[in-house]
Structure formats: C-alpha cells, structure tokens
Symmetry: C2
Subunit: 153 residues, 2 copies
C-alpha cells in the first residue's frame, strides 16, 4: 500500500511533448508485450513493413522514409539479414547502392503478425471511438508534417 501522494503535474499535461512521451511509452509497452513471441521491436517491424511495400527500394531511401538516420539503419538491416527476414541485393545501375527485399521468412513473419497487429491497435485505442482514433492519427500526422524533422527536406 503506497501513500499515493498524487502529485500535481502543473502545466505538463498541456505540453504536447510530455503528453506524447507518456502515450508513446504506454503504447510501445503494449507493442513489446504483443510482439515478444515474434521477437519484433517497433523499429524492426517498421523496417519490414516498409520493405514489404517497397520491394527493391534503396537503403538510404528506406531510412529517410522512416526518419531513421543512415548509420542507425545499418544495424537494423544487419539484424534482419542475420535473422534471414530481409536481404540486401546489388542495385542495378549503381554499385554503391543496395536494393532491399524481404525473404520468404520475412514475408511469413509479417503475415503471422497480422492478428497481433490488429489486436494491439484495438487495445491501444480501446478508450477511443473509431472517429476519435482516426482523428488522433490525423492530428499526429499533421503535427509531424508541420515540423518535419527529417524526411520533409
């Protein structure tokens, strides 16, 4: 039994960065629990999903699309290759460049993750109506686009 002091948060809940951080920690925790059986972190999942929808894309374009810096993207691709979920193949026309593809295992893993994704999304939006959830996605995308840390250029 804790004393549960219920401290005063002051203006913090009205600061967007604070509200985002709190929500993101909670959502990622649910994601982690949901995808632990598949050993997939959010970053790995996002890379697999991006490659699935853009087979043959350049590594640098993939990193930029996800807002991940190139040096940090290398380790993610290394792990996906080591686990035989994706591979780097030589790109036609530019011998510096790598074309990214899913392996059969990668395709299968994403397919087997479909139910988990649906259930995860349902859980994290359980307190929202469908309309509110749609609005939340849209507002977040608008905030991000208006600031545009990376990819906006």
């Amino acid at each position: 039994m804790s004393h549960q002091s219920k401290l005063e948060l002051g203006p913090l809940p009205q600061m967007l960065g604070y509200a985002l951080r709190r929500a993101q920690i909670a959502v990622f925790e649910d994601f982690g629990a949901s995808f632990k059986p598949l050993n997939l972190r959010p970053a790995l999942f996002s890379v697999l999903t991006l490659i699935k929808h853009n087979p043959g894309c350049k590594q640098s374009d993939a990193a930029e699309a996800l807002g991940i810096m190139q040096p940090n993207f290398v380790a993610l691709m290394d792990e996906l290759e080591r686990r035989d979920l994706a591979r780097r193949t030589p790109a036609k026309g530019d011998r510096r460049s790598h074309a990214l593809e899913l392996t059969e295992d990668g395709v299968a893993l994403l397919h087997s993750a479909r139910d988990s994704i649906v259930h995860h999304e349902a859980r994290v939006t359980t307190s929202l109506t469908p309309a509110e959830a749609a609005l939340l996605y849209e507002l977040l995308a608008r905030v991000e686009r208006s600031l545009g840390s990376l990819d906006s250029e």
Copy 2:
C-alpha cells in the same frame, strides 16, 4: 537534389505507436532547439516543473508521478543538484526519504523559460486549431490512462 522516392508507408501511419513516435521526435527536436540556451532536456524540465508544483515531495513520489523509474531518477536529481537548480533535503519523520525543493537558481531558470515554453508550444501546435490542440491533449491522456504503464496503480 535527392530523387525523393517518396516510398509507400503502407499501414504504418495508421498505427498509433508509429504516429506517436514520429510526432514525438519532431516535437522533442523543437524542444531541444528551444531550450538549448538553458541546457534543459525534456526530462530535466519535467522534473523541475514537478518539484515547483510539489515542493517538499518525496523523490520516489516524484519519479512515479513522471513515470520515471527510481534508479533513472537518481541521475536526473544528481544533475539538478550539481547545477544547483534543485536540492534533496532530509524529510521529516523518515530518515530514508528525501524532500525535493527548487533552489533560487531553479526558480529563476523556470521563470526565464516561460517565454520559450509558450513559443515552443505555439510552434508545435501551429498546424492545429486551439480546439484541435485541446482535443489532442485529451485523446493522448486518455490513451495513456487506459494503458497505464506505471503510475496507474
């Protein structure tokens, strides 16, 4: 001039964790730029603000209120004490416990940060109407409360 391949993100923008991460990175980047002159990171700012609104609070209660684990809170308080922005004082009645207070410098720093906070919040919500911004805070808080990673219990 990059090729700007504009890759397909697939279902990612409709996943709450992804949308939150993208928005949070952008908002924290603006925060960092805005508070670099004061050498304040989001975590340090949140601790100072919490102490301001709860002078004399216990260290463990402060950590719990912010969703920061106790061991990680120690280094934050160490830095605030080293910079003479806050201090740990002996709590009355329990010699294990620390009561947290702002120093004069801490009060002054938060005061001098007020304009930066207002401008930062205005920038990160520049693409939202006031009603949309208020709704966004509320939806984020609801998501976080319904999952409740730490402090909920």
